[in-house]
């Protein structure tokens, strides 16, 4: 179905579906004045519209970062490793000494220490943690980015709905962005060779005017052909061209060179830092979901040195991102998630490494409807199992959806079969939701 819009201005970019949903929720108090579209978007009035403002940046710690060297340290335990824990700005909450910057910002962030996701295999574990559940035979579920692209994306948007950075090669094929049964419309723009897309720049010998004139000519011819005809194919082609023009126009978003030097310095000199800064630019421009994959944490050998090298970078970049979003007034609209396919074993192997471990590990949620400073889940003194507040992949996803204002029980349909966003019976962790 072609989508119609009440208003084509960027400020009032509301689609009909969202508008009607909002109208129903707003009820009679607003029904009298259909022209006051701004009122529909006011806080607390209309969740269905408010959710369209939410966005997510997923920091994908590919290969599996160690919970013991980040969010759930066990100093002094035989499994604890050499790092100390440090007190954070949340009374009673201690994290690894490798994260001094985040330690000052834990009031912004919820730590889930009770992840028990059962799957310690890179490939299938990554799929589970990107989709919130295992695929069924003949049914491939959409991943988090695709669902949010569908739920949060605006049909008239001039920016992509789902962008994923995964520059390193290791593990990239384990969890590519995947729209599953939602189809290619919600598939990600995947950046694998650097921080900006390779093929969306217009040809160097084509001027802006030439490009616009060609587009106008194509529209003119297309409209002439479409006059009097009714065809989904024609509409789809028109929409596709429109999106391509939007994507080409968004090329500048991927270029952070114009950011103030102080902002760039905060994120640091690494590629991960640069891509997180670009992610901030993207969500600020309205991209609903950006994944920045930081590979590769699979520290079977020299776990502590690997984390000594990589965690300070995560600490710096994540804290810079949280500060940056906060200073731009986006803390309540953009959720930052750290997640991986699994964590790492408490036991230390002969190579001073830690191996794959999905029975008791951690992730974080920052911003939107999540309680900053909260901790959910408790592991035993050696970090070998969850002893309270167990969270599986489905519950985590239900929590993320709920925090974003999306009903996890909402159904999509594959043919006539209703498919809820999370499996039946799976519930959000309400304790961490505002």
């Amino acid at each position: 179905m072609p989508r119609s819009h009440f208003c084509r201005s960027a400020d009032h970019a509301l689609n009909r579906r969202a508008f009607l949903g909002g109208l129903a929720a707003a009820g009679a108090t607003l029904a009298a004045d259909m022209t006051q579209l701004n009122a529909l978007a006011s806080p607390g009035v209309n969740a269905a519209l408010k959710k369209t403002q939410k966005r997510v940046i997923l920091l994908w710690l590919a290969g599996g970062a160690s919970q013991l060297e980040t969010w759930d340290p066990k100093p002094g335990a035989v499994t604890g490793g050499p790092f100390r824990s440090i007190q954070t700005d949340v009374p009673g909450l201690r994290i690894s000494e490798l994260m001094p910057e985040m330690a000052k910002r834990m009031k912004t962030t919820c730590v889930i220490r009770g992840l028990d996701t059962k799957n310690g295999d890179h490939g299938s574990g990554a799929k589970v943690m990107m989709r919130g559940r295992r695929d069924e035979a003949g049914l491939r579920y959409p991943d988090l980015g695709a669902v949010l692209a569908r739920e949060m994306g605006r049909p008239d948007s001039t920016v992509p709905d789902y962008v994923t950075f995964y520059t390193q090669t290791e593990g990239r094929s384990f969890a590519p962005g995947d729209a599953g049964f939602l189809g290619a419309r919600y598939a990600p723009m995947e950046l694998t060779t650097g921080s900006s897309p390779e093929y969306i720049k217009k040809l160097a010998d084509m001027t802006d005017a030439d490009h616009e004139e060609r587009a106008a000519l194509r529209d003119l011819v297309g409209k002439g052909f479409a006059a009097g005809r009714s065809s989904e194919t024609l509409s789809s082609q028109s929409e596709a061209y429109g999106r391509v023009r939007g994507l080409m126009a968004s090329a500048k978003l991927f270029d952070a060179s114009g950011e103030p030097a102080a902002v760039k310095a905060r994120y640091g000199p690494t590629q991960f830092g640069e891509q997180c800064l670009i992610a901030r630019r993207l969500v600020e421009a309205g991209v609903p979901f950006v994944r920045v994959a930081r590979a590769w944490w699979d520290s079977h050998g020299q776990n502590f040195e690997t984390h000594q090298e990589m965690v300070p970078e995560l600490d710096r970049v994540m804290s810079a991102l949280i500060d940056d979003l906060g200073e731009r007034g986006l803390s309540n609209d953009v959720m930052v998630v750290t997640l991986a396919e699994f964590g790492r074993t408490p036991s230390i192997n002969a190579s001073l490494g830690r191996d794959h471990f999905a029975s008791a590990w951690s992730c974080t949620l920052t911003g939107c409807g999540v309680k900053g400073g909260s901790v959910y889940g408790k592991t035993d003194e050696k970090g070998q199992k969850v002893v309270a507040e167990n969270v599986d992949a489905g519950s985590l996803f239900a929590t993320i959806y709920s925090a974003l204002g999306i009903n996890p029980e909402k159904n999509y349909h594959v043919g006539s079969r209703p498919i809820p966003l999370v499996n039946p019976g799976v519930e959000a962790v309400k304790a961490v939701l505002k």
Binding site: P82, E309, S351
Partner: protein, 333 residues
């Protein structure tokens, strides 16, 4: 008495314990060894006893990675950045110093026992008066970050047999020889093959120059580590040793390894220079004996643990190795 040959190496004792031992020092002429390990403790034990029963002397606040004996003073260092002086006669810690801002990787005593050197990831080598604990000198020259903007690490330090020189080695394979009396940098050699930076697949690094040892005449400097690694998730590079004429800045021998994978964590020369011993490991461990002059490998022996450190007696006849959950004793001759 002639130095025994590597072909006479025999296992003598093998003690299992649930601690990763990172450092060992032996009181000359006795069976007493001092151990530092993953239990944060400094222990003593008698390797000549039938039963291996370590006794805790004191504890750090993180892994203990260096122990050095200077007379009656046992100086230990750890990832807590502290150095502790333990009086082995009085049986108590007499001094604790906040020595380094980052992990201490190694602690060694000078041959005459007057100085102690420590290296740490703050990339500084510090010389301490072994008796008073006073800081004598700081040796600065290793870069704080790798060429890829990540923190570097300063792994190894060794005195020359005459005590006049020190060598230090870092993550990227940069090795510096210092004048111990003045702190002046005398020479530098490079072993870049020991550092693997993986930009394409994994975007981090592994390896480093992990051990150094001067030859008995002080002219040659052996450097131990691991060769280039394909999959840096694992310590799968070949155990690698390079030997330099450090004054000339020239590599004179290279042992790239052909049997064992892993890091060469410790090096020592036979007293007559006839062989060089390297030990280390990954999932399992090894002893490597090389004839440097002949550029020939004499013996490669599997050890039932990743070896982090060893003590070789001055006569080359007994070898106490420590590592992942074990302590072993080997004899030569």
């Amino acid at each position: 008495m002639p130095v025994p040959t590597p072909d006479t190496l025999k296992p003598s004792k093998d003690f299992a314990r649930q601690v990763i031992a990172f450092a060992v020092a032996r009181r000359p002429g006795t069976g007493t060894v001092y151990l530092g390990g993953s239990d944060f403790k400094v222990c003593s034990a008698d390797v000549t006893a039938a039963k291996f029963e370590p006794t805790e002397l004191h504890a750090h606040e993180s892994y203990v990675t260096g122990v050095a004996l200077a007379g009656d003073r046992l100086v230990s260092g750890g990832y807590d950045g502290k150095l502790a002086w333990y009086d082995t006669e009085a049986g108590k810690v007499v001094r604790t110093v906040e020595a380094h801002a980052k992990w201490i990787r190694k602690v060694v005593a000078s041959p005459d026992g007057t100085l102690v050197a420590s290296v740490a990831d703050d990339m500084v080598c510090k010389l301490w008066d072994a008796a008073t604990g006073k800081l004598v000198r700081e040796l600065k020259g290793h870069k704080a970050t790798t060429p890829h903007d990540f923190p570097s690490m300063l792994y190894a330090v060794a005195f020359s047999p005459d005590g006049k020189h020190l060598a230090t080695a870092d993550k990227v394979g940069h090795v510096v020889v210092w004048d111990a009396a003045t702190g002046k940098e005398l020479a530098a050699v490079e072993a870049p093959v020991m550092y693997t930076w993986d930009k394409v697949q994994r975007n981090h690094s592994i390896g480093g120059a992990r051990s150094v040892a001067f030859s008995p005449d002080g002219r040659l400097l052996a450097v131990g580590g691991m060769g280039k690694v394909g999959n840096i998730d694992h310590l799968e590079g070949k155990a690698r040793i390079e030997v330099f004429d450090w004054a000339a800045g020239k590599q004179v021998a290279e042992f790239p390894g052909d049997k064992f994978a892993g890091l060469v964590n410790r090096l020592a020369w036979a007293a007559d220079g006839s062989w060089l011993l390297g030990a280390g490991g990954a999932g399992e461990g090894f002893f490597l004996f090389h004839d440097v002059a002949a550029k020939k490998t004499l013996r490669q022996e599997k050890v039932p643990m990743h070896v982090h450190d060893f003590d070789l007696t001055a006569d080359g006849r007994e070898l106490v190795a420590v590592g992942h959950n074990r302590v072993t004793v080997h004899t030569l001759g």
